[in-house]
Each structure stands twice: as C-alpha cells, then as structure tokens.
C-alpha cells in the first residue's frame, strides 16, 4: 500500500484502521526496524537508522519488550534514566511508577508482572527518558480504563511540551484525549499522487 504521512514537530498523529491494514508496518518502517519496499522516509530531516543519535531522539514500543536478568522494575527505570544522563532523583522515577500503577511492584522483576503491568512499565520507561519523537503501537492495549485516561493525559502533556507523537490505536477516545490528530490508513493512501 502506498502511504503518505507527515507529522509536524510538536504535534501528534494517531493512525487508525482495522487489523492487518498495515499500521504497525508503517510504524516499524518509520522506526527503521523494517525496510519499506519503496519510497522515502525522513525523520527530523534524515533517514531513520540504527545510530545512537537516532535512538536518543526516538522512542518506540512497536517491538515486544525484553528485560535484563536479575534487575528489578525500579532498577530498569533508573538504568534508562542514567544512560541518558538524568539524575535518578530528579527524573521522577517513583512518581512515574506511581502514575502507571507500578508503585507496589518496584522490587519485582519484570517477567513476573502481568501483561498489562509490563505494558505500563514499557510506557513508563519510554516516557521517563528524554526524547523528541514517540512511536507507540496501540499504547492503550491491556490498560484498564483509568490507566488509559492517565496515559492519554501524559501523552497530551508530552505533545504540549514540544514532543512529537506518532501512534496507532483502535480507541478513538483515547487518541483524542492524548492530543493526537486522528487519521485512517485509507485516507493516508488516498492522498498519494
């Protein structure tokens, strides 16, 4: 499918559409995790790649997460913050875990969490570290209604602070609450010349 999409810096776009239409493939291509058959993708004016500079600017959750052995939930969050030069005290790790309903699980190892909690942890870590573009694949999945509202508010704040957001979702209410402009895969392919 030919697709044309532009996400302005400091704005959010949410792609909707039925299963299998290519939302995740689009996100994977933008994240450089998959090569498109044809065409051009530019992220911040350059080709997306495997460089450390790219991954310091971009955070994605389109891949299944993996966890380090023998490292607790809180230590995973601290590790990522420290790798980006953040002070663990000022980064607000405890607040983030609290906000994502993981405050009581700081000492657990991530594989022992439920799938919803793992999803929350991935999002918590993704949003803790500094970034300029968030690429999220159905971030509302496996979250309960309260969790959805919380995450949507955080995403809206991220965009309001100047971050860019590209996500795929099946939940229009969630997408609107997160400050993203809704668009369908069909409309993206329709504008292709």
């Amino acid at each position: 499918m030919d697709v044309s999409l532009k996400v302005k810096a400091g704005s959010g776009v949410c792609v909707t559409g039925e299963n299998g239409i290519g939302k995740s493939t689009l996100l994977r291509c933008v994240s450089s995790l998959q090569q498109p058959d044809d065409g051009e993708i530019l992220v911040f004016g350059g080709t997306p790649g495997a460089t450390p500079e790219f991954w310091r600017a971009v955070v994605t959750t389109v891949e299944p997460p993996t966890w380090y052995p023998g490292l607790t939930v809180r230590e995973h969050a601290e590790l990522v913050c420290r790798a980006h030069g953040q002070d663990p005290d000022e980064a607000g790790i405890d607040e983030a875990l609290e906000r994502f309903g993981l405050a009581g699980h700081g000492d657990a190892i991530p594989p022992s969490l439920s799938s919803g909690q793992k999803q929350r942890l991935t999002l918590a870590v993704a949003m803790l570290r500094p970034s300029s573009l968030l690429i999220l694949d159905e971030p509302e999945q496996r979250l309960d209604p309260d969790g959805r509202a919380e995450v949507a508010a955080l995403l809206a704040a991220y965009v309001a602070d100047g971050g860019s957001l590209l996500m795929a979702s099946h939940d229009d209410t969630f997408a609107e609450a997160s400050g993203a402009e809704l668009t369908t895969m069909e409309s993206l392919s329709a504008v292709t010349p």
Partner: protein, 500 residues
C-alpha cells in the same frame, strides 16, 4: 469422583502414536542404541578402565572418602534439578488434569528414574571401589558394594522425591548437600597436594556385607513402597515445573539448542529470588554498575567459582597443557557470570535502543566486570598452583591477572553467539553424519581463548616465569580485546549485530 482407568488411555495413545511411526522404527532405534554403546564401549574401553577399574588401586582413603560425597552429591543435585518426578509435556497438559489415578500416572516416571539412579549409583560405587580397594577383595564383596551403592542411588531419589513434594526443607537440604560436595572437592584437592598412602585394608568381607546390604535393601524397598503410596500427594505445580524442565531438555537435545535449557534455568533462578531495588553505583559507567549488581546478586555462584579455582590442582599428574586449558576455560566460565546482560542485548536490542548507547560503548562497558572476574579467577588458580609448587618459580599470579581480557573476550563473544545455525551443511564421516551447526556454535567463544596462547606456552614449557612473559600475555590480551571491539562493534550502530 470416580477415577477413569489409566491403562486403556495409555494404550490408546500408544496405538495412535505408533500409527504415525514407520514400521520397525522402535526396533531400529533399539538396534542403533545397542550398536552405538557397543562401538563406543569398544573404542573407549581403555579409558573406561582408567575411570572405573585401574590396574592397581591408586586412591588414598582421603580421596575415596572425598569422592563419595562428590559423586553422590552430584547425583542428588541433578535429581533435584530435573524433578525427579516428571511427565512428558503432552501428559502434563492432557493426563494430569484428567480424572485418572494419579499414582498410576506417575509410577512409570518414578520407575524409570529409580532405574537410572540405581545404575548411576552403582557405577559411582564401582569407580570408588575400583580406585581404592585392594585387588585381593573378592568378587562377591565387590558386587555387594556396587549393589549397596545402587541402593544408595535409589535412597537419594526417594529423598529428592520427598523434597519435591515437601516445603522449604528441600532447599535447605540442597544447601547442605552443596556444602558436602564442596567439602568433598576440598578433600580431593588436599589429597592431590599431599602424599597420602594408597588405601589398603579395612574393606569389609562378603560375610559382613550380606546382612548389611540385605537390611538396606529392606529399608529402601519399604520406603519405596511408601513413596509409591504417597505419589498422588505430589503437588501439581511441582510436576508441571518438572514437565517443563523435561520438555526443555528434549527440545535442547532434539533441536541441538542448549540455550533452551540454560535460559530456562536462568529464568527459574530469578523467578525464585526475592530482590530489593538498590541504587546503581553512581561513579561507574552505567552498564558496568549494572553488571556489578548482577554479579553481586549471584554470591553463591561467586563462592563456587572461588572454590573451583582449586580444581586445576587435581590435574597435577596430567600433562601441563591440560592444566593450561583448564585455567583458560575456567577464566571464561568465571567471566561469564556477568554474561546474562550481553546475552539479553544480543537476543533483542530493544533495551539497547532505549538506552541509546552505541554498540562500541555498550560492549566496552560490558567487558569490564567479566575481565575483572576472569583476572581474579586465573590469578587465584595459577597462584594456588604455584604456591603448591606445581609450577616452577615466577609471578604466576600476575600471569593470571593478564588473562583477564582473554576471559572477557571469550565470555562476551560466547554470550553474543545466539541460536545454533542448523542450516549449516552436515559432514559425512565414516562414523555417521555430524551436523556442523552445533559444533560451530559450541566453538564460538572458546575460540577466543587462543589469545591466551602465550600463557599456555608458559605453563607447558614448565620453566621459570619471567615478567617479560607476563607482559607479552598482557599485551596480546589487551590487543586482542581491542581488535575484538573494533571488529564487532561500531560507534554509529546501537545493535550488537550489524543489520543484514
């Protein structure tokens, strides 16, 4: 609820399964196994004799007394690790929740494990007798001692079985057995470093052994019957856990993919640990701090490593190249204590992307802790060998320290290896077809130990060690580590493997 008879169900399953098999496949398998044992036994009969029945008894009473806890301790710990009671995965999913007699369902597994435990126990007993007993001991006494050892194997199985069903005392007993094993190894090392006379008399005659072995048979038989009666009380979750182990074992064997088993053991280890979050050390590079935390959480393994540094002493009578190889492999194993993090990154670079570090930075940081572990271990091992005068004079501990980078490169290379490549061409040999994938996979990592060649040459030469030799090894190790970093990582790439 009435229990459904199990035998017809099993017969039906067997019939269905055999319908998918070629005719005569089972007979062919048995034929092949017997032939294999006969050929390998024929080829290795001299080596087997050295292990089980040397021409003259050559062990002191200390060595014999130390071998006993080592061999039987290993048997017990292996039984505990694998169950001992396990079901195949299909049986665990379909028959365990079915209304069939639990005892009958588990009995075949118990029977098979008992036979294996008895055979291993008897072999261990024969080996100990063969090394320590005078050749004047008559055949019936030897047979009785071997049967007693076989019974001891079954008794250990029964204890392991009770521990599988029971509570926390099982873990404590494991710790005690580990201690006995360590004490046995310490005894062997002590024996190797001092001159003890070969054990002579004091062996019981057949006359005294008959009532003793008879009584043990009676007791073990009685306990076995009790265990069979109590079989139904084994908790489901324990059987399911063992079924997973058995499944992973078969997957590893048939898929020739040892990582299935090692990964499962690793996952299970951490799942059973209770952790408390700590702050990562602020002064160290971030990944070094993380590796350090991982190692600090494996204190028991560190203790075993420290004890294992004495094991090369056991090779005092072996050719020196074997001691050198043992030290190099030990350095790699010590370094790989911290290998779990690199392995995670090599399997899925998702966390590396989140961290935003270049592969050069991350692998460099990940080599520090393995390097220190390898250096400390080899310094301890070579220092001990030198202190016990097994090596000529010289700063051997320093040569050990110089092996740090070698162990680090080998361990990190091993951790990055990934799955076995089963698509590699098989080799046809006169002994049959050998698949090269697992062979190549097994060599990746240990091949980097070639960087320890200067140390190997020094140990083999058996001459006084000079500081120049230490310097040469240090330089080769450091250059090798640098070349490894330059060749397999990049500053403009996050993933450990270049994208294809």
């Amino acid at each position: 609820m009435t229990a459904v008879p199990l035998a017809p169900v099993r017969r039906w399953i067997l019939r269905r399964q055999s319908a998918h098999r070629e005719r005569g496949a089972t007979a062919g398998n048995i034929y092949f196994t017997v032939l294999f044992i006969a050929i390998v036994g024929g080829m290795l009969h001299k080596q087997l004799a050295v292990v089980f029945w040397p021409t003259h008894p050559n062990a002191s009473s200390l060595a014999a007394a130390s071998l006993t806890p080592v061999l039987f301790g290993l048997l017990y710990l292996a039984l505990r690790r694998f169950g001992p009671l396990a079901l195949s995965r299909p049986a665990a999913s379909w028959l365990l929740p079915a209304p069939v007699s639990r005892r009958r369902l588990l009995l075949p597994s118990l029977r098979l494990t008992a036979i294996v435990a008895a055979i291993i126990g008897a072999l261990a007993g024969t080996a100990i007798v063969g090394h320590a007993a005078p050749r004047s001991l008559d055949g019936s006494a030897i047979a009785l001692l071997a049967s007693g050892a076989g019974l001891a194997g079954i008794a250990l199985l029964l204890v392991a079985l009770a521990a599988q069903a029971g509570g926390r005392w099982g873990d404590r007993l494991d710790a005690v057995v580990s201690l006995l094993l360590a004490a046995g190894l310490a005894g062997l090392v002590t024996d190797a470093t001092t001159d003890h006379p070969v054990a002579a008399g004091g062996w019981p005659t057949a006359g005294t052994l008959v009532p003793l072995v008879g009584a043990v048979t009676l007791v073990v038989g009685l306990l076995f019957a009790l265990a069979v009666r109590g079989l139904a009380r084994t908790p489901n979750e324990r059987i399911l856990e063992s079924a997973k182990t058995a499944g992973a074992l078969f997957d590893s064997a048939f898929g020739m993919e040892p990582s299935f088993l090692t990964d499962m053991i690793e996952r299970r280890y951490w799942a059973h640990r209770k952790l408390r979050s700590v702050r990562l050390p602020a002064r160290l590079p971030i990944l070094v701090g993380q590796d350090l935390l991982l190692v600090a959480r494996r204190r028991r393994r560190l203790l075993w490593l420290a004890l294992a540094a004495a094991l090369p002493v056991l090779l005092e009578d072996a050719p020196h190249w074997l001691i050198a190889v043992a030290v190099l492999i030990g350095a790699m194993l010590a370094a790989s204590t911290a290998g779990g993090n690199v392995k995670t990154d090599a399997g899925n670079p998702m966390l590396l992307r989140l961290l935003g570090l270049s592969s050069r930075d991350s692998v460099l940081q990940r080599m520090w802790v393995p390097g220190v572990l390898a250096a400390a271990w080899s310094a301890l091992a070579l220092g001990l060998l030198s202190a016990l005068d097994e090596l000529p004079p010289g700063p051997w501990w320093a040569l050990g320290l110089a092996l740090g980078p070698v162990g680090a490169v080998a361990a990190v290379r091993r951790a990055r290896v990934g799955f076995v490549r089963n698509e590699l061409l098989p080799l046809d040999t006169p002994m049959g077809t050998v698949s090269t994938g697992p062979l190549v996979n097994a060599l990746i990592g240990p091949d980097a130990l070639l960087l320890g060649l200067p140390a190997l040459v020094n140990i083999v030469q058996n001459q006084e060690l000079t500081w120049l030799s230490v310097l040469v090894q240090a330089a080769v190790g450091a250059l090798g580590a640098r070349a490894y970093l330059a060749g397999t990582t990049a500053t403009d790439r996050v993933e450990l493997h270049a994208q294809r």
